[in-house]
Symmetry: C2
Subunit: 316 residues, 2 copies
């Protein structure tokens, strides 16, 4: 098979959904599939295997054969062994994901950290579009919150693969309990799951997604209050991140970033107010949109297959 | 002149004192001199020039000729041009320190960020002693507080030379005013200057140094209270830093780290309590002690002179 006709199966594993795609060597998603992470009451790995099976059939129906599988997963990921050390939203602890998937699919599998993989995709997009390039932070705000700290084009992984846990930086000491067991984490206020939970707890009207809460801003005091808390927590976390890392750009991704200006504008305002003696880095949204995780997973898969893909990123 | 007989003049510029040395290519400080940063009511650059002049004379008296000058300075430092972009404790804003010193001394001068320079010295010590090597954070706690974030042996400088401002991470939103203009910074509670100021403000007995306050721990409720606040602020800052960077080791330096176990033990305890689902990185004190900044400045100077020194670091 030539590089040109090679495709990979890519999945971005989130706390709420599994986003899958068949991706070709130009970075085009020729098939897209999404499923709830816990569909049909099964555990995440069972749904993941079913999704990969469906994607493989989609590929076969198009006459292409996948050469590898790439998966981006949240939490603490040991990329060398493909082990999920700990992922609170998925119930995985020391889970040998790569081994499980290679056994089941018979394909070479690459397992990476979702945010770091998405950060690679954003880096690629930034480089090809003349952006700030190698020094930025990518912060996917979804069910949970993470960060890819990209320095010189490489996403830092830390001493034990646990770098980038931006969602669990404590911004309100002794504050809101976080599902992770700590109190006052960024994620306990600003993640999609937290916004929904806190909106409901305050007596907000029934809502099934953060987008619904965002749509009520300005017309629903409960929505306004939980959103203000979310923005404040993100701003406090980004204040510390800016002090430590001085990034050229802060790129927001994940489902919550679909709020667009309703998120970016108040966030830039709060961050600017917290910073007394330096400007805030530019705040933007992901060039690949909410697809950054899938594209990052596809990059990992092509790498695993020994193929250098030629992705053509979207322009802003 | 052979490399073996080469010496450099090295100065670690702090908010309180200027620590100077004549350092040979084995990392030995053959002369040590310290002066207050604002001695005799003069500004910092005048005292720095006088100190360099004294060190040059010390070198001449020993029959050695300095080949270069290295200076580590706090704040935001643009290393390529040797400009101090902003240093709140010194009153410098866009100050062309390298140009001023080269003009005055006639020697090649290297100007670096104090904490990043010290981080290089610690990295050298770590590598030669089989330590955790290339991935750690060095946090000098002195009059002010900074950090060198060492990744793969290199201290991150950020997009505009402003990385590592750990002292100005906000840990208590809306809290204690910081001299930097923000509120609730780590430095507003935990820097040497802050501990002294807060101790006096609470009605503590006359004290001229943080060491005196530390010596009263367990016997003076004011000392206990301000020290607990300092430890808490450091722990909160290090919690966020650990989440973002997952360092293999956190190395504390600077004058306040002379407190030793009185700092390390409660700090490790607080940090461990804040972290619910991962262990804290090991907390240690600098291998070069409070001399790390001077040795780091000497490394910069040798590099500027094109000489590869063979420093022999102390063992722990």
């Amino acid at each position: 098979m030539t590089t040109d006709s090679a495709v990979v199966l890519a999945v971005d594993v989130g706390g709420t959904g599994l986003k899958g795609a068949v991706v070709d060597a130009h970075g085009r998603s020729v098939v897209l599939r999404e499923e709830p992470s816990r569909a049909a009451g099964r555990n995440v790995e069972e749904n993941l295997l079913e999704l990969l099976d469906d994607l493989a059939q989609d590929a076969a129906a198009r006459g292409v054969q996948p050469v590898a599988v790439g998966v981006g997963a949240p939490g603490t990921v040991e990329e060398s062994s493909g082990t999920i050390v700990y992922a609170s939203n998925l119930g995985w602890r020391r889970f040998p994901l790569r081994a499980v998937l290679e056994e089941a699919t018979g394909l070479p599998v690459a397992v990476g950290h979702d945010a770091r993989a998405a950060g690679r995709a954003e880096h690629l997009a930034s480089v090809t579009s003349g952006g700030t390039g190698g020094n930025f932070v990518f912060v996917p705000v979804g069910t949970g919150i993470a960060a890819a700290i990209v320095v010189g084009g490489v996403a830092l992984d830390g001493a034990r693969g646990a770098a980038g846990e931006f969602g669990h930086v404590i911004v309100h000491p002794g504050g809101e309990p976080c599902p992770c067991g700590q109190r006052g984490c960024v994620e306990a206020y600003a993640a999609g799951a937290a916004v929904l939970r806190r909106y409901t707890a305050r007596g907000g009207r029934a809502a099934s997604s953060t987008a619904e809460v965002v749509a009520r801003l300005g017309a629903d005091a409960h929505a306004d209050a939980v959103w203000a808390d979310a923005v404040r927590a993100l701003a406090l976390g980004l204040q510390g991140l800016t002090m430590l890392l001085d990034p050229a750009e802060i790129v927001l991704g994940g489902g919550v970033s679909r709020a667009g200006r309703a998120l970016l504008d108040p966030l830039a305002g709060e961050l600017g107010q917290l910073l007394a003696w330096r400007a805030a880095p530019p705040l933007t949204t992901a060039r690949w949109g909410t697809g950054a995780g899938r594209i990052g997973a596809a990059l990992l898969a092509f790498e695993r297959a020994g193929i250098v893909p030629e992705f053509v990123p979207p322009t802003r």
